[in-house]
């Protein structure tokens, strides 16, 4: 009989060791899958985990790209983690990300071709505002009518996607684009663009913002009264109410903060790596960020690491895909496995495994 015994406090050693163990287990299980698909498992694993970091042919380019890919994930996940800790379920960060991009881009495109230095900051503010506004819909509905935020935030993702298509084909369409969908490319409009801050560093303002968000989130949660309220509400909603925490304020703050950060991710992405609003601008960062938030145990520092690990599987997965001819579905399944193992072995940091007959705890 195997049973679990709760540790009084999470084990420090296992907290660090479980991710390593999970990656090792994923290598085994994933390797088996690659072998079944008729590919060299060792080569595949090496390409996914090692080549983006150290292969002389790719690393100089891939390493900075990790930041580009992880930036929006971390930025969104930090915002979401606040809500998740307080028991507020914002599943619609993808929609807030889209709206941030649309709002910000609209401001920039309205100014075209002015080259004032104020344009980019104005766009960033508009982007954060767009995400905030979109998150306020479920927040206000929850506070005023008691409507469930999971449903509203999720359905608003689809609404945002349709709106984005309408924008890419209508008001924001590039007038010089020959009737094709898509806005002007911000990479060709310096006053509104978000390029790499140093060549080949991968650092753009979005990555900077992600790092600031991690630090800010960490301080908020561990040092600030709001962070205390958030943690209290998550652990014991009733105690929180007695303790003077206003549930309505908490809902507005958590959804609004998450929305604003998702909106920031959107505007930095559209002005930087993506370049333009198109009918397919969003690629699922808002959903992946939910996983990143939990992988990071809802802790900003953990989220930083989880975001980088996810980014590594994307970039390494792409390399493996075209170098070994692996179907992208295999990479997707591989990522799923990694997540399963990461989530599963986490049990070791909170519980002791006891083997033997049930005794006295």
């Amino acid at each position: 009989m195997i049973r679990l015994e709760k540790r009084p406090t999470p084990s420090q050693a296992w907290t660090w060791a479980t991710p390593v163990l999970a990656v090792l287990l994923t290598m085994l299980a994933g390797g088996l899958m690659f072998a079944l698909l008729g590919k060299d498992p060792v080569a595949a694993i090496k390409i996914i985990f090692y080549d983006p970091l150290f292969n002389p042919q790719f690393a100089a380019y891939s390493r900075p790209q990790l930041l580009v890919k992880a930036g929006p994930l971390i930025l969104i996940a930090v915002g979401l983690a606040m809500g998740f800790r307080a028991g507020i379920w914002n599943i619609g960060a993808e929609g807030q990300y889209i709206m941030g991009a649309i709002f910000g881009a609209a401001v920039g495109l309205a100014m075209y071709p002015s080259d004032s230095w104020m344009i980019f900051p104005a766009m960033v503010i508009a982007g954060a505002f767009g995400g905030f506004l979109w998150a306020m819909i479920p927040a206000v509905l929850k506070v005023v009518f008691g409507t469930n935020e999971i449903l509203v935030s999720l359905l608003l993702v689809y609404v945002a996607e349709k709106l984005m298509a309408a924008m890419a084909l209508g008001p924001l369409r590039n007038p010089e684009g020959g009737g094709f969908p898509g806005s002007r490319n911000f990479q060709g409009y310096p006053a509104a663009s978000n390029p790499e801050l140093f060549p080949n560093s991968g650092m753009h303002w979005g990555v900077v913002a992600a790092i600031i968000a991690v630090i800010f989130g960490y301080i908020l949660l561990s040092r600030h009264l709001m962070g205390y309220h958030i943690r209290l509400a998550g652990q014991s909603p009733r105690a929180a109410r007695f303790g003077g925490v206003s549930p309505a304020r908490l809902v507005i703050f958590c959804l609004g903060f998450g929305g604003a950060l998702a909106g920031l991710a959107g505007i930095f992405e559209v002005t930087g790596p993506a370049g333009q609003i198109t009918t397919s601008f969003n690629t699922g960062y808002g959903f992946t960020a939910i996983i990143v938030a939990f992988l990071g145990r809802l802790n900003p520092i953990g989220i930083l690491l989880a975001g980088l690990l996810m980014a590594l599987t994307y970039i390494g997965g792409e390399l493996a895909s075209f170098m070994l001819g692996l179907p992208s579905a295999a990479i997707q399944a591989f990522q799923g496995m990694l997540l399963f193992f990461l989530l599963g072995v986490d049990v070791l940091s909170n519980f002791r495994i006891k083997i033997g007959r049930e005794g006295h705890a």
């Binding site: 042919q57 790719f58 380019y61 891939s62 790209q65 580009v68 890919k69 349709k162 298509a165 309408a166 084909l169 209508g170 020959g178 009737g179 094709f180 969908p181 898509g182 490319n185 990479q187 992405e269 930087g272 790596p273 993506a274 370049g275 333009q276 198109t278 009918t279 397919s280 601008f281 690629t283 970039i315 792409e318 390399l319 895909s321 075209f322 170098m323 001819g325 179907p327 992208s328 579905a329």
Partner: protein, 358 residues
């Protein structure tokens, strides 16, 4: 707009100069697809053509492929990594790869790029596309002849010039043989979503359409039509022959392989130069799938004659007199639309109802 014949002539001249640069060892050819390699439509067709090209050259080329690459930042990264891995030529097979292709091409001047359906070229970036509207004219003709309710349903994807061109072209051809014809257009806002396409086909059939044209890639509308009974459809992107002879009575097929073979061949010989190719039935880039036995012999013969006329250039699907939807004159009697207008087409011709989403 530059035409291929002109470019071939230039290519020959430049070819002499750069022949010394010809390749040693296998040429590494990259392809990136927007969907999975087996999506049954657009991406699968490019993938199969790539395989045909690889078979043709055997061990002279090494093929590397990446499927399901989102347009935008991810595409730029995948392209860069492919170029870093030593690719000599990379085909980017979706419109949304246009800016990423141009960006990466700037960083790798020695790597050649070929972008499908776009319009931005560079010294090392060529573009290619097919004149699908020529095939649409043949479909429109068949639709006009075959319909009994005079209602044609059209499942459109996104309101972009290529799709609008297709609607106009098929409508003009249908109207010619059937003045009472009416088109109902549903904008699905997706290239590929079987359930939605099926619902769209269903809605059109329920409103009396007995011919369904589609500009989306799944076979779901075919299945919906099959279930409904007396409804005619056309294969899109691939032949969809499994639905012949009914409901699928013909199809438009993308034929990319010859182009891929010729362009990769140019890289092998060291004669590649940037091009702007827009070929149709005549050059073999657009194929018309076999017209099935559900179509009467005489109609079939006439449709094939029309196809022949378009192939030889004797007839252009956009020949005046044609008015725009608002009644203003677009083309005078006998006038032929220029490629520039066609490439950026954003209006309906007279007789079509409804608005193009803006």
């Amino acid at each position: 707009m530059l035409r291929r014949t002109f470019l071939l002539a230039t290519a020959a001249v430049v070819g002499l100069a750069s022949a010394a640069m010809a390749q040693n060892g296998p040429v590494k050819v990259g392809f990136i697809y927007v969907g999975p390699k087996n999506d049954g439509g657009w991406s699968q067709h490019h993938h199969e053509a790539a395989m045909e090209m690889a078979d043709y050259y055997g061990d002279k080329v090494e093929l590397i492929e990446q499927e399901s690459v989102p347009e935008g930042a991810d595409a730029e990264r995948v392209l860069t990594q492919m170029a870093l891995s030593g690719a000599n030529i990379i085909f980017t097979t979706s419109f949304g790869y246009m800016d990423p292709t141009i960006n990466v091409a700037k960083k790798f001047p020695k790597v050649k790029f070929e972008h499908a359906t776009g319009y931005k070229t560079a010294e090392n970036v060529g573009v290619y596309s097919a004149r699908f509207y020529e095939g649409r004219a043949v479909q429109g003709y068949l639709a006009g002849k075959m319909t009994k309710t005079n209602k044609v349903g059209y499942i459109a994807s996104f309101p972009i010039p290529e799709v609008i061109r297709g609607i106009n072209s098929s409508y003009i051809a249908a109207k010619k043989v059937n003045p009472d014809i009416q088109f109902s257009v549903i904008w699905a806002y997706t290239w590929f979503d079987p359930a939605k396409e099926s619902d769209a086909a269903q809605a059109l059939i329920e409103q009396g359409a007995d011919v369904i044209l589609q500009h989306t890639d799944s076979t779901a509308p075919q299945a919906a039509a099959q279930k409904a009974g007396n409804v005619y459809t056309f294969g899109q992107a691939s032949d969809m022959a499994e639905f012949a002879p009914m409901p699928r009575i013909s199809s438009i097929i993308d034929v990319w392989a010859p182009y891929y073979i010729s362009r990769v061949g140019a890289v092998i010989d060291g004669t590649w130069v940037s091009d702007n190719t827009w070929d149709g039935i005549g050059a073999g880039m657009v194929g018309i799938g076999e017209i099935s036995s559900a179509v009467p012999e005489d109609v079939k013969a006439e449709a094939e004659a029309l196809k022949e006329e378009i192939a030889t250039g004797a007839y252009h699907p956009f020949t005046g007199p044609l008015n725009k939807q608002d009644g203003s004159v677009w083309l005078a009697e006998g006038e032929i639309a220029d490629d520039g207008t066609l490439a950026g087409m954003n209006f309906y011709v007279e007789g079509l109802t409804g608005d193009i989403p803006q």
